[in-house]
Every structure is written in structure tokens, then in C-alpha cells.
């Protein structure tokens, strides 16, 4: 009946049967929607881990700050890939723009204040994201992939042509940044850099979290899941995509700026295809569209890479490759998915136990 009579189906929606079970289900759904953005205790774990690392591995903070930079970079990709469904291989372009904003700022203009440098990097990269996004986001799939990739490589080539200015592949050596907040010098052990990167990551993470749980974030997810429907209900799809692309570009720029500042050095290799591909692999490994996937993916990838390359500087890629293959075969929703499965298993056990 319903199949031939759309009005019937519609009226069923307009006048739903108000039984107790349905109401309860709706309340649960509403409860879920309201509580989704609330802080969960599990969310504290990665941050506590980061703080613990500071005290437990004081000799390894240089590596630690590089991990945090990659987490931030992966986070920027998650915002567009995980939430808006934009697959791009050009994120390194914005990372590079941010990296060179503070690099050139320090080397050519004497702008050595680090925190304001981050803001500058955000705005320059965001501007680049806005312009390129306006043109490129009309495309999808492989086309978008290749367009973003080609754009990033063209920027690298341009940097190489102007190597007198950019420093080319030898980079901008001996960048010296002011002490952080005018007080904290950069020490050999990387303590300042680590804390600096962690604080920046936490701040950006907070904003990204706000964004994805806002109505704007919901609209993005809608676009990812069903772009036609979003068009149909009158959502300004292109505009929203450009907006999120711009924000993500800015965050990638901040990651790049942190990269330059923590290394006190930058070369054109930041624009490499490998850089874009690696961050994507990290994100997928961790799990897309859940923010903490970026966290976990970048950390797991880099820690394993570090571990394997110490084990065997020559053959470590085999280990990383195997890790990726196993992740695809046995952890379909990323490493975070594994944790979620564990979590779900325990909650189920608990609720089973609770019922008499």
C-alpha cells in the first residue's frame, strides 16, 4: 500500500503512533544527540598520556613534539576528509605554506615571535585554502585528488625556481625564534617545544571539536553522507565545503608553522607528495571522522616507524607495511575502531550484568 500511495506514507510521518516504546526511543535519540558533544572520560586518556610522556620520557621529547605536530596535521585532514568527505592529496601545500610563512617571516622580515607567527600562518594558509577551495571543490574523487596533488607540487616547483628567496631544497638554515612568551628558551631536550606543541594542539583540538559538533559540523556530515539531499533541502553545499576547507587549510598551516618552529629549519620537501600521502595514511590508520583517530593514527604510525627503524634502519618499511595491511584486514574502522569495539564489548557486558 505504502509503495503506491505516497500520501499514506507521509501521513504516517505526520501522525506518528505515540506508543511508549517509540517515545522512549526518541528520547534516547535526543539524549544521544544532546550528550554527543559532552566531554567523555575516555577523552582524557590521550591528553593524560601526553602529559605522562613529558615526565616519563624526558629524553625523547624532540620526537614527541614531532608526533604532536603530525597529530595536528592529521586533525586538519580529518576535518575535511573525515567530516566533509573531501579526499585530497594536497594538504601538504597548506602545511608548507604555514611552514614557510613563519620560516620566511623569520629569515627575511625578522618576525621571530613564535605565537603571533602561528596566527600569521593560520591566516595565510587559510587564505590559500579559500582561494584554491573555491575553484577546486567543484570537483570530486580522483579528479580532485590529482588537482590538489598537482597544485602542491607546482608550489614546490615554484619555490625551487625562486630558490634565492625560498632557500630551495637546502632550506632556510639557522632560524632563530624568540623565547616562547618571552620567557622559555628552547632547550636541547625539546621540553619547551613539547609543551608548546601540546598546548597548541589542545587549543586547536578544542575548536575543532566545537566545530564538528555544531550545526555547521552536522551539515558537513550530511554533505558527506548524501550530497544530493543536502542540495535538495537547500543547504549551501559549496559554501560550506569551502568554509571547512579554509579552516582545515589554516590548521594545516599552524601545523606547518609549528614544524618549522620546533625544527628551527624548513626545506621545500614539506610540499612533497609523500607528506600529503603519509598524513592521509596516518588518519585512515587511526580512523576517520572521529578526531581522536587523527590522534591515535599519527601517534601509532610514528611510534611504530621509530620502533621499526631502530630495529632495522634498512628494512623497517616492511614492518610499517605489514602494520597497514593488518590494520585494513582486522581493524576496519582504524585503530580507534578497535578501542571502540573493546569499549562496546564492555558496556554490553555491563548492561547485561545490570539486567536481572
Amino acid at each position: 500500500m505504502a509503495a503506491n500511495d505516497p500520501t499514506g506514507a507521509q501521513s504516517a510521518i505526520v501522525t506518528p503512533v505515540r506508543d511508549a516504546a517509540a517515545t522512549a526511543a526518541r528520547d534516547r535519540a535526543a539524549e544521544y544527540l544532546v550528550s554527543r558533544h559532552r566531554f567523555r572520560w575516555a577523552e582524557a586518556l590521550p591528553w593524560l598520556a601526553c602529559i605522562a610522556v613529558f615526565f616519563l620520557f624526558p629524553d625523547r621529547l624532540t620526537f614527541g613534539s614531532q608526533v604532536l605536530v603530525m597529530v595536528l596535521f592529521a586533525l586538519s585532514l580529518d576535518l575535511i576528509l573525515g567530516y566533509a568527505g573531501i579526499v585530497t592529496l594536497g594538504q601538504a601545500a597548506f602545511f608548507g605554506i604555514g611552514a614557510y610563512t613563519v620560516g620566511l617571516g623569520a629569515a627575511r622580515l625578522g618576525w621571530t615571535e613564535p605565537v603571533s607567527g602561528l596566527f600569521a600562518a593560520f591566516f595565510v594558509a587559510a587564505l590559500a585554502g579559500f582561494i584554491s577551495g573555491w575553484f577546486l571543490l567543484r570537483y570530486r574523487g580522483l579528479t580532485l585528488l590529482m588537482l590538489t596533488l598537482a597544485t602542491a607540487i607546482m608550489m614546490q616547483e615554484a619555490g625551487n625556481l625562486g630558490s634565492e628567496f625560498s632557500g630551495g631544497y637546502d632550506g632556510l638554515p639557522g632560524l632563530v625564534f624568540d623565547p616562547l612568551l618571552g620567557r622559555f628558551e628552547y632547550d636541547l631536550y625539546g621540553r619547551t617545544n613539547y609543551v608548546y606543541a601540546l598546548v597548541v594542539l589542545a587549543v586547536v583540538f578544542y575548536f575543532v571539536r566545537r566545530i564538528v559538533y555544531s550545526p555547521f559540523g552536522q551539515a558537513l556530515t550530511g554533505i558527506r553522507e548524501n550530497v544530493r539531499r543536502m542540495h535538495a533541502i537547500g543547504s549551501p553545499v559549496h559554501w560550506r565545503l569551502v568554509t571547512v576547507y579554509t579552516i582545515a587549510a589554516g590548521i594545516a598551516g599552524v601545523a606547518g608553522a609549528l614544524f618549522t618552529q620546533t625544527n628551527a629549519y624548513v626545506t621545500l620537501t614539506v610540499f612533497d607528495f609523500e607528506n600529503s600521502a603519509k598524513v592521509m595514511v596516518m588518519l585512515i590508520l587511526g580512523g576517520t571522522g572521529r578526531l581522536y583517530g587523527a590522534f591515535l593514527g599519527a601517534a601509532v604510525y610514528m611510534i611504530m616507524e621509530d620502533y621499526f627503524s631502530k630495529l632495522s634502519p634498512t628494512f623497517w618499511q616492511f614492518g610499517i607495511g605489514l602494520l597497514l595491511v593488518l590494520a585494513v584486514l582486522f581493524a576496519r574502522r582504524g585503530v580507534l575502531g578497535l578501542f571502540e569495539q573493546f569499549g562496546a564489548y564492555f558496556t554490553k557486558e555491563k548492561s547485561k550484568g545490570a539486567k536481572p
Partner: protein, 401 residues
Amino acid sequence: MRMLKWAGVAALALTVGGTAQAEKIKIGVVLPFSGANADLGHQVDKAFDLYIKLHAKDIAPHTIEIVKRDEGPPTGANAKTVATELITNDKVQILTGFVFSPSAIALAPVVTQAKVPMVIANAGTAWITNLSPYIARLSFSMWHHGYPMGAYAFDKIGCKTAALAYTDFPPGKDSTEAFKTGFEKAGGKVTESIPLGSPVQVPDFTPFFQRIKDSKPDCMYVFIPSGAHATGVTKAYGELGMRKAGIKLIGPMDLIPDNKLQDMGDAAIGTIVMGNYAVDLDNAENKAFNAAWHKEYGANSYPDFMSAAGWDTMHAIFDTIKKLNGNVTDGAKFIDAMKGWKTKSPRGDVMIDPDTRDIVQDEHAMEVIRKPDGKLGVKVLGTTKAVKDECKVLKLGRCGT
């Protein structure tokens, strides 16, 4: 805790007193073991291992411990991270290796801050040694080969005009600049200067060389990284029949690395390079070095100029350890002790310039020939003694600071 440790050390020192104490010296080795340039890292690493194996007894009663880390891609950042951790986490006292210039450049402020000596076994951008007083270099600067080749090409090879072709990254620009400076000073004329694309992917050299062939210079000076690019250059040069067309292939020794020379075929014959090493150099040290190499790695494995630099690097480190009687905790003292170090090396006479901490070495003009035993090899056409990095002598650009 730390106080306790120091107290322990002090107590130990007291009990041992003045007698020579057996030190365990930790050396961090940073080389590209993976990625597109892994073969370069392995050429140096094999030389390190060989030297240590043969000479570990020389520094007795002291012993060394080697910690190897992957230099990774030439981003600077990766090498900086692993090398910083070698200092902070593994507590190495000496850093060595470094194939890529960006790695050394990125790390310079760190070794200055940590006061750890950094002994470079390859990275050839001229001005690296100016970046930190803790850096010494045993390999070469791009100017070592490029600059003398300029005059030699004009005077001896008979190049009145030359086209330049280089891989488009700093060593390539450095090397062609060095050649051009020497060549023009001698009276030669550079017809054109062509970038050959990225150092990572080997490009199709044919269109570039075809263009040079059509402009008919006397000589073509090519700089490429000594990995897979080198073979590609010789092949494209041979296929296009450029030698028949009267264009001579010249360059730094990176064109004909010894471990790839046998694969290059007849096309390589007649190539003239300027460089500090070839397996065919006729001196006792080189014969011993080659014999040891073949004994360790087999008859079909050849050392090349990178291995020779690696060998000398470890040699200098060992001699300095001996000189300081194993007391290498003071980085400044270590570098001081290294200044003026000299030896007869497989490359000829080498010395660390006390002023610049860069190498002073013999440069050989060499021509590729087919040897009587049917293998390819080189004939030394002439040797210039005690060549310094001309970029720093002339104080050009960054070399002057």
C-alpha cells in the same frame, strides 16, 4: 638521583686515579638506509663497518659502540629528530654520517648547543662547515671538483665552450657554479645551463641532452646525484651518439661512481671527471682498502668515493680518540684535536684544514677506459695536490660568513 650518579663517577675516578681508563665511546651514525637514496647510505656504512672491524684494536683499551639511525628522506627534519635523540636519549659523544646537506644544515644549531662533534662523511654544500664550530668534514665540498675542473676542461681537454646540466637542487647548483667560475676564469664560454629536474625521480634525460646536442658545445658538464641518475646520464649520452657528434662528457666523479661503472657499458668510455677517488687510483693505501673491501663484501662489490670518504671519516675519528686517549666527553676539545689531522688515504694525501675544519685533498682528473682485463676503469690524467674548498677561499656568498 643524578647527584648520586655523579658522586659514583667521581668516586670511580678517584679509585682509578691516574692510570689509563678504558672508555666506552658511543658514536651515532646517521645515514639514509631506506628510501630512494639508500644505496648512498649503504656505501658509506660498509666503509664504516669495515674500518671498525679492522681497526677496533687500534684504540685499545678503549672500545666504541655504534648506534645507527636512518637519515630518511632529505627533509632535514627527520635527521634532526633522530640525531637530537642520539644525543639526548642514547647519549652518543660523536655524531657522524650525513649524506644529505639539509640534514647537516638542520642539525648544526643542535650540535652547537649540545657541544657534540659532528663529523660529516658526505654532505657537500660548501658553506656547511661555517654553520657550527663543532662540524668537521672529511668528504668534499662541491667546489673541490667543480672549480679545478673548470680550468682543466679549458686548458687540457680542449673545451672552448661548454653546456652545463645539473640536477635541480643545491649541490647541483653549487657544482655548476663552481665549474662555471673556474671555466670562465680560464677563458671558456658557457653556452647554456639546464636544470635536470628533481633529485628523487630519475628523469628521462633524452630531451635535455638532445637540446644540448643541437647547440653543439665542445663539452657537456653534468652534475647529478651518484645514485640511479648516474647510469641514466651515461645511457642517454650514449644512445644519442653525442660522443660521435664531438661533445665530450665531463663532470665531477659523481658521474661514474665505481659501484655502478661496470654497468655503464661502452658509452662511459672517454668520460673525463674530476674527483678525489676511484678504485683504480694507484697507491698502497687504496690497494689495501680495495683488497679488504673485496674480502669482506665479495668480488662484485666495489667501494666508491662515498665509501672512501666514509673510511677516512672513521679513520679521523679513531685517530682523534687515540690522540685524546679516549677522553672525548669535551666536544670542543675533540674538534680541536681533529684540526690539522692528516694521513695518506686511499684518496691520496688528505688533511683537515685547521681554519675551516673542511678537507684539503688531492684532486685527480680521470678518464674512463676499458682496462686490459675487459673491465671498465679510469686512467689518471693528472693530479692537483692539496685542493681547498675554493668557495671559502674566495669567500663567495654564504661561504664568506
